[in-house]
């Protein structure tokens, strides 16, 4: 599980983006939206931008740890 949890577009990545972009007070809708089958992270981000009019919040891909899968 830990090897896929924070890949862009994963469920938890979606939750992170929606919750931080829509606001924690909208947790329920954020989690529901995170479970939609988004075609790509860009598609998801475009949707968030369309409804918030602001940049996507949450961890950026540059924050993701660099993995050594052979480890």
């Amino acid at each position: 599980m830990s090897k896929v949890a924070w890949l862009p577009g994963s469920l938890f990545d979606n939750i992170d983006k929606f919750a931080n972009s829509l606001g924690y007070q909208n947790a329920a809708i954020a989690i529901e939206l995170a479970q939609q089958s988004w075609e790509s992270p860009e598609d998801r981000n475009a949707f968030i931008y369309a409804i918030t009019g602001e940049d996507i919040q949450g961890a950026t891909e540059s924050n993701y740890p660099i993995r050594n899968l052979r480890r």
């Binding site: 329920a28 989690i31 369309a50 409804i51 009019g53």
Partner: protein
């Protein structure tokens, strides 16, 4: 009392107890015509209210057409908009378009705290497990901490 043995009580074979018998015109069961209405003060016109009701029943007037609630089939969340001239933020107090003041009063209630509580109870164990992974971003952890505080 030697009455008809079929009278009274629940009759499972009666048409009203057959679940297959559903109204063809919808849940209201309307026939598409107006029901007879008693009209008082008909004597001055040479009739009575009862007679007028009987005449209405014999030749009912057509009822008002019932518009369906949704004029077309509902699409999915990811379908293109049916209202391209309306901003997606119409009805929300943010972004372009009218704010929440244009919404009907009965959908203005703030149900978010209850919804949040329900969703947290449902998903918190899974969300918490992800928060405890060694490479979980701080932004996600902050969100989970917020959910824990709301419990």
């Amino acid at each position: 009392m030697a009455g008809n043995e079929n009278s009274g009580g629940y009759r499972p074979t009666a048409p009203q107890n057959n679940p297959a018998n559903v109204s063809a015109t919808g849940g209201a069961g309307g026939s598409g015509t107006q029901a007879p209405t008693y009209i008082p003060g008909m004597k001055s016109l040479g009739s009575t209210g009862v007679e007028t009701m009987a005449q209405q029943g014999a030749a009912p007037m057509a009822g008002a057409p019932q518009a369906p609630i949704f004029s077309k089939e509902l699409g999915s969340l990811l379908d293109p908009t049916n209202n391209p001239n309306e901003p997606v933020t119409a009805g929300v107090d943010a972004g372009p378009g009218p704010g929440s003041d244009v919404l009907p009063k009965n959908i203005n209630a703030n149900t978010r705290p209850d919804e949040n509580k329900m969703i947290v109870q449902k998903y918190l164990p899974t969300l918490l497990a992800a928060a405890n992974l060694p490479d979980t971003p701080d932004s996600y952890k902050r969100f989970i901490n917020y959910l824990l505080e709301q419990q």
